[in-house]
Amino acid sequence: MWSLTPLETEALSLSLKVSFWSVLCSLPPGVFIAWVLARKEFPGKMLLNGVVHLPLVLPPVVVGYLLLLLLGRKGPLGAWLYETFGVTVAFNWKGAALAAAVMAFPLLVRAIRLSIETIDQRLESAARTLGATPVRVFFTITLPLAAPGLLAGTILSFARSLGEFGATITFVSNIPGETRTLPLALFSMVQTPDGETGALRIMVVSIILGLGAVLCSEFLARRLSRRMGV
């Protein structure tokens, strides 16, 4: 009863793939926006902060529907993407990754931003006087010192991506092998007769994945803080 069926294995590997790309693609803009929010003052900062946090406070279904309107084949952005690059994110795994990325984005930005805010800016000006350009200061001082936040944000957004359900099912539907990630597979199984054992297995797999992510983050965070002598 504990061995996964091919359908469940497929859902697991799809979930890992979707989450991996979700995190990877949201890291660069996430770090940039976190830095902007932590260090820059500009008109509209509150608004940007609000927009970034929107997925955290909106019902996921609303976000999914918004994505569908914008990025569906006939949506303004979706049509443009298709015509310019021949790429479409509607009803495929890329769309699932995008939905997961959008939903996890506030968590990522929040963790990195908090970490950057705790960095002593005087270290950055010291680096400037030693001859470093602002870009170099960012990569040699700010980013390494923000590593704990970067790590926490990555793990959090990875876990959030694994669990993404509402926006995914609304935006890219529930297509086996394409957009049926673990939570969607669990949802389908609960709705079919005799699906309980499969659902149970997926539940256990989800718990293991989640626990693994938290333990891994805890372990890495300790090593990091030891290296920085905190």
Binding site: A126, M228, G229
Partner: protein, 380 residues
């Protein structure tokens, strides 16, 4: 040489400063907290941009509001040593030291890594984490890091302020050493007069964002009108002296200055070394006649040139002894009993043991003759 002439406003605080600092000298920026010292050096380093003015190092213009020049901090080549050291916590000592150096093209590295490691005695620390260094070690690494970026100007913002007295004495000889070895102007910010007397040659006195006076340390410390800014309790004249001879029997040294000879507890430096020495006004007594049979070893003969009466029970009196000014603080009652007035000949008495050893320092120009000696020697 550093040339500064800047004006800057922060809210209702106006900073307005013009001064010059020569190569191979330590120019002290002295003033109470809030006098604008740190803001001024931040303007030099480019961490703050002045409203208007001009900053140039060795003829290279770093800032000039008239021609619109404003070189960014990373291109200014100013070594900045901060009060809180600001070592990078995610790098070990060696990586901290090399941070600025690695950003320079090899041809522009004027100062060698090994040279700095030796000068600041950093060899045992190289592979240590910076978070496990003592306060004194931390500050030595910070000094090394700034120097290894081969700066054209070194700026030190109260580098000793966060250290306790023993750590200060650990660092001071290194700074003296660096003054004698490094071919660049040094600007040393401090509110501790004894550090300035020990280290620097020229002093810029800041008060309320303005330069109140500038000139040789000896001259400024002997001016009665600057007491309110230099601190009344600490007031005293600084003399440039030279070791004439040692008295091994009694453990004393005789120092010659323009105006006579002083006896002080033994100074462990070779005969001929230059020593700057502060004689605090409150340690000097006055007498109309030569006093015989006294335990006080130093009697100097001079003339009263100025009396500063700010009310209260004490008066500050400036005497001219030979070519040197000495300050004395006496009670109003004593001044009245002796009928002290300008032009009156007078004897000044100083206990040898009262001469302030904390502010005794080798004078820069003379000490370069004796470059081989250990820096710690000047401590005694």
């Amino acid at each position: 040489m550093l040339e500064v002439d800047v004006r800057h406003r922060f809210g209702d605080f106006a900073l307005e400063a013009a001064f010059k600092a020569e190569t191979r000298t330590i120019t002290a920026l002295f003033g109470r907290s809030g006098s604008g010292k740190t803001s001024l050096v931040n303007l030099l380093a480019g961490l703050l941009t002045p409203n208007e003015g001009r900053i140039a190092v060795d003829g290279r213009v770093l800032f000039d509001s008239a021609s619109g020049v404003n070189v960014p901090p990373n291109k200014r080549r100013i070594g900045y040593i901060f009060q809180e050291s600001r070592l990078f916590p995610h790098m070990n000592v060696r990586k901290n030291l090399c941070y600025g150096r690695n950003l320079l093209p090899a041809a522009e590295r004027r100062i060698g890594f090994d040279e700095i490691v030796e000068l600041l005695d950093l060899a045992p620390l190289l592979d240590r984490d910076v978070t496990h260094l003592s306060g004194g070690e931390t500050q030595r690494v910070a000094i090394g890091r700034a120097l290894l970026s081969s700066p054209r100007l070194l700026v030190m913002d109260e580098p000793l302020a966060s250290l306790d007295a023993p750590r200060k004495n650990e660092i001071l000889p290194f700074i003296e050493r660096l003054r004698d070895h490094m071919d660049m102007p040094v600007v040393y910010v401090s509110h501790a007069l004894e550090e300035i007397i020990r280290l620097s040659d020229t002093m810029v006195l800041l008060s309320g964002g303005k330069v109140a006076a500038t000139g040789p340390v000896e001259e400024l410390t002997a001016r009665l009108d600057l007491y309110p800014m230099t601190g009344r309790y600490e007031a005293g004249a600084v003399l440039a002296t030279k070791i004439a001879e040692h008295d091994d029997k009694f453990g004393l040294s005789y120092l010659d200055f323009a105006g006579g000879r002083l006896t002080v507890p033994r100074v462990d430096l070779p005969v001929g070394s230059g020593i700057k020495l502060r004689i605090r006004a409150r340690d000097v007594s006055l007498s109309l006649h030569r006093v015989e049979n006294t335990s006080i070893l130093n009697t100097l003969f001079g003339t009263i040139v100025e009396i500063n009466d700010q009310g209260g029970p004490q008066l500050d009196i400036a005497l001219l002894v030979g070519e040197s000014r000495i300050l004395a603080r006496v009670t109003r009652k004593a001044a009245s009993l002796l009928s002290l007035e300008a032009g009156k000949p007078i004897y000044a008495l100083m206990k040898a043991v009262a001469i302030d050893r904390r502010s005794m320092g080798r004078s820069g120009s003379l000490s370069r003759v004796a470059e081989t000696e250990k820096p710690a020697a000047s401590d005694h």
